[in-house]
């Protein structure tokens, strides 16, 4: 096929689902109404930790209008997103583990009746002691919140060592040690979770759900319901936001499936806003200690990172989250020796899980602030320091992550130039400051959630004689624009208008598996699969058309809805005619493409978290104004640069960047999944402090500063048309950039989020009193980390395997690894 310039990719364009959205015609899960539909409400625990002695539903069953009442006994099979933590029951079976844990379900003619009947269910609890913090979880091994996990209330503790940090510290001119705390926060999608389950006329079960991961829901539903997955259809409805909050299979999804089977009628559930706070699966609160060795010119010699995660009451993605808190410290700056210890504990709170940036956000916060402190101590400009140590493209990091393209240096230069950072940093009047931070994020997790060797994304194409091409893929449209990416990739390759490509997505009966919208995988994995499929389709069509036109396939170009000879454009046919010609020769036309990411170089236990086909990079400079008397903070402007490889649709990309900055500012300034523990002598209560949109603070349009965006485009060979991710990366640098800007403005350090005015004032008062002007955790507790897995780094000749937990620390000679 003849090459031609891109016609769709790279152009700012209305997204394919834009019209539906501005007409209010997109059907979200709660917009589905089926005939004779029933409504479900869940009864949730009002105690944080207790044995469930009895659940008496007799009065509820007898209430007029109630069709069905379910309890834990109806769902004995546990489930969970990760194979290693199948610790959830659709309804609590033997115990409840947090206020909000679902205990029973009522299905009734109306939502009001169901809600009223909840009050008729009598539950008897035997309270157990409340574990309200990681410190309590560590010091109270009994009662165990779960019967599994490393020991006591420690869910998982890991330790790995790459090279030798002791040697690195010995070589350093300075060693810096800092402790940071990153508060938990939640996704707060505007659409609450909702789902409808129904039997179709053939008696097969369908679940429509606001889920980012229909394939994982499919597996969980089949497991818990004890049904063959081929008899269950999962349709992911377009979501009104997810951000990671809709990537677990949920209690309510499985409950309504069962209810539909029992009643034979469609059953809908729509969670209230408060219930979404209880589903949570949001950002883990993480306590971190970073010990970093540097040479006086800023070169890093070693980093020892320790993390302690507040996991909440269930596993969710938590084991992966734990590994993520240690995975990406090495992909931005060259780090020759690295040690990571991570530990997740259970507490009696809503479970934490993946939120935009998944586990890498918290340590990035610490790392970027510590680098700022290092730059300050060494009297080096923070931008110059980073530019000096930026990692190189094509390398393997100490923990065996393969960096392909890395546009970080360009990102730094971009934000420095546009913001005038070097002229402002350290030089603005008291109360004004600029802060810089960088980050990286993966473009799709390198391994699937459950072990298998199959593709991570598949796309099937149907070519119709009308000229319409239909692209089928299991990907879920969260709002990020995945439908648009699919359409654009196929349309580009086949030379069609996007209006002539229809996408069918997220339907397990119709679409090939895509693992779901998480870890920023969809553009890269689905996009590549789509390109492969479209190229095969193009080839199928080109052959017969070339023959008909008496030319070579190599001379043909697919463009503008036609197939024609590049040198003689009038010698050609319309795409529809081309399909007809090809169909006459081949029979019915179809093509399939699939994608699997490259095999990770990391072969050690735990090395499955972190690898990715490629990484995106971001840099941000934030300008703040801080009132030196009151600590009141205003973010004036954000400059952001994102190394995206290629912007497939600049309008959508810009939206993702600004949206990420927005969410980062929320986490920096005001978002917090905070809890209230009542005085233990008076009550065992542990409740979410602010389970409402009013009190859980998110920025309004009045709080949003100006954002200056620049995209750094250096196509990455791994990405579809060179694209890397953009949905998560630009969030990460914002929080540390704000913290660094506060230091520049008023000389105080906040080593925790949110960076609220009361904390800034506290630090200012410390400063005035001659004390170290810093607000943050006092110290890092003793955490029972295991002996570290020892892995030799690539430049030590390592092959990515663990040597042994107790191997000597001297570098091995080449080629002799177990």
């Amino acid at each position: 096929m003849k090459e031609r310039p891109l016609q769709i990719i790279g152009k700012a364009r209305r997204r394919v689902d834009g019209r539906a959205k501005v007409c209010g015609e997109t059907r979200y899960a709660d917009d589905l109404f089926l005939p004779r539909m029933l409504h479900c409400r869940l009864l949730r625990s009002s105690v944080p930790h207790a044995k469930l002695l009895s659940v008496d539903t007799s009065r509820a069953r007898a209430f007029p209008g109630v069709h069905c009442v379910l309890t834990g006994a109806d769902f004995p099979t546990p489930f969970g997103i990760l194979p290693v933590s199948q610790d959830e029951h659709a309804l609590c079976l033997h115990k409840v583990r947090f206020v909000g844990d679902p205990v029973a379900a009522v299905v009734a003619q109306t939502e009001e009746i169901a809600q009223e009947a909840l009050g008729l269910i009598d539950v008897v609890y035997e309270p157990l002691s409340t574990i309200s913090s990681p410190e309590e979880a560590l010091s109270q091994p009994e009662p165990r919140i779960h019967d599994y996990g490393d020991h006591g209330n420690v869910h998982k503790a890991v330790s790995m060592s790459f090279g030798s940090v002791e040697q690195g510290f010995a070589e350093a001119d300075h060693v810096f040690e800092d402790v940071f705390h990153y508060a938990g926060n939640t996704h707060l999608p505007l659409e609450t979770h909702a789902a409808v389950a129904a039997l179709d006329p053939d008696g097969k079960l369908t679940l429509w759900s606001s889920t980012q991961t229909p394939h994982y829901v499919h597996r969980a539903a089949a497991k818990v319901l004890g049904m063959p997955p081929s008899r269950i259809r999962i349709v992911s409805t377009p979501q009104g936001g997810g951000f990671g909050g809709k990537t677990d299979p949920f209690n309510h999804e499985i409950v309504i499936c069962k209810a539909a089977l029992v009643t034979g009628r469609p059953v809908k559930i729509c969670l209230s806003r408060e219930e979404v706070f209880y589903c949570h699966r949001g950002r883990h609160a993480v306590l971190m200690k970073l010990r970093c060795g540097v040479k006086k010119d800023g070169t890093l010699t070693a980093l020892h990172l320790q993390t302690l995660l507040d996991g909440g009451a269930y596993g969710s993605y938590g084991v992966a989250s734990t590994f993520y808190t240690g995975a990406l410290q090495t992909v931005t700056y060259h780090l020759p020796n690295y040690r990571f210890d991570g530990c997740r504990v259970f507490t009696n709170k809503p479970p934490a899980g993946p939120k935009r940036g998944h586990g890498t956000v918290q340590p990035r916060f610490g790392q970027e602030i510590q680098l700022d402190k290092i730059a300050h101590a060494l009297s080096i400009n923070p931008a110059d320091l980073r530019l000096k140590i930026v990692e190189k493209p094509g390398v393997l990091t100490a923990n065996f992550l393969h960096i392909r393209t890395i546009g970080l240096a360009d990102c730094i230069r971009s934000v420095v130039r546009r913001s005038g950072f070097s002229e402002k940093h350290g030089q603005l009047p008291l109360g004004r400051g600029v802060g810089l931070a960088c980050s990286s994020y993966l473009t799709g997790a390198g391994l699937p959630i459950y072990y298998n060797d199959m593709p991570h994304s598949g796309v099937q194409l149907k070519l119709d004689r009308s000229g319409l091409v239909t692209a089928f893929c299991g990907a879920a449209e969260v709002g990020q624009g995945s439908d648009d990416v699919l359409c654009a990739c196929v349309a580009e390759v086949l030379g069609l208008d996007v209006a002539d490509v229809k996408v069918v997505t997220g339907d397990s009966d119709l679409t090939p598996v895509d693992l779901g919208s998480y870890s920023s995988r969809v553009t890269l994995m689905m996009g590549n699969a789509a390109i492969f499929a479209a190229e095969k389709a193009r080839e199928l069509v080109a052959g017969p058309v070339a023959q008909k036109l008496e030319t070579e396939p190599g001379r043909l170009v697919f463009s503008g809805g036609r197939v024609f000879e590049a040198e003689q454009p009038e010698k050609g046919v319309s795409f529809a005619e081309a399909v007809a010609i090809a169909e006459s020769v081949h029979g019915t036309l179809g093509a399939v493409g699939s994608y699997k990411p490259p095999k990770p170089a990391a072969k050690f236990k735990g090395g499955g978290v972190g690898p990715s086909a490629t990484y995106s990079y971001s840099a941000a400079v934030v300008e703040v104004q801080v009132d030196p008397e009151t600590g009141w903070i205003v973010v004036e402007k954000v400059f952001i640069a994102h190394d995206i490889g290629r912007a497939l649709n600049p309008t959508l990309v810009r939206g993702q960047v600004i949206g990420s900055v927005y969410m980062g500012l929320g986490e920096a300034l005001m978002e917090e999944q905070a809890y209230r523990r009542l005085p233990p002598k008076k009550s065992g209560a542990l409740v979410h402090r602010t389970p409402s949109l009013l009190e859980y603070k998110s920025l309004t349009s009045l709080d949003m500063p100006e954002v200056d965006v620049e995209l750094i485009e250096g196509p990455d060979p791994e990405g579809p048309f060179g694209a890397k991710e953009v949905g998560q990366g630009p969030l990460l640098p914002i929080m540390p950039a704000v913290a660094n800007a506060i230091f520049d403005a008023v000389g105080v350090r906040l080593d925790e989020v949110p960076l609220s005015p009361d904390k800034i004032l506290r630090a200012l008062l410390q400063k005035a009193a001659g004390q170290p002007p810093r607000v943050g955790p006092k110290g890092f507790p003793a955490v029972p980390y295991p002996e570290p897995l020892q892995v030799s780094t690539p430049w030590q000749g390592g092959q990515g395997r663990a040597v042994s937990p107790t191997a000597p620390k001297t570098p091995k000679t080449e080629g002799s690894h177990a």
Partner: protein
């Protein structure tokens, strides 16, 4: 005690049966099939349920349906002219003002109300008019830009005839 009420929605009269405790939001979505109006909290804390009552933006989750008799209600479904998008809708779609789309109906109606009062609002006016609508996806800028682009066209149009 359900009783019949008559509501005028997008210029059409609808007769529905409802109890006093039913909100306008519930009637629109659950009785009239107008699911374009969304809900994020039902407590007045997000703006997803904004509709227009006689050109004024209001929260349909905090209005009793019975109290809306005799008023002209406009929902997102009423913005199109036939199958043609309104200039504001087209601007939203083209500017990337809709990502997940869930806040979009409320945003469109708040913006429609603003442009009806002020054909050429400043950027500050737009931010203020939209400050009662939460969005978790866009960071607001492309939404403001969409409204600005319509306002700019209004400026360009002679004699202030306001396009909506």
């Amino acid at each position: 005690m359900k009783r019949p009420i008559s509501l005028v929605v997008n210029g059409e009269q609808h007769d529905v049966l409802c109890a006093p405790n039913v909100t306008l939001l519930e009637v629109l979505r659950e009785q009239l099939g107008l699911t374009g109006t969304k809900h994020g909290c039902e407590l007045g804390e997000c703006g997803a349920c904004v509709v227009l009552l006689d050109e004024t933006p209001v929260l349909s989750c905090l209005l009793l349906a019975m109290e809306c008799e005799g008023r002209a209600i406009t929902t997102v479904e009423g913005l199109k002219r036939g199958s043609e998008l309104s200039p504001l809708q087209a601007a939203f779609a083209d500017a990337g003002a809709s990502q997940c789309g869930y806040c979009t109906p409320g945003m469109l109606l708040s913006a429609t109300a603003l442009l009806a009062k002020q054909a050429t609002p400043s950027r500050a006016d737009i931010h203020t008019a939209l400050s009662g609508n939460l969005c978790r996806c866009t960071g607001y800028h492309q939404i403001v830009e969409a409204v600005e682009s319509v306002a700019a066209k209004n400026t360009a149009d002679s004699h202030g005839s306001s396009a909506r």
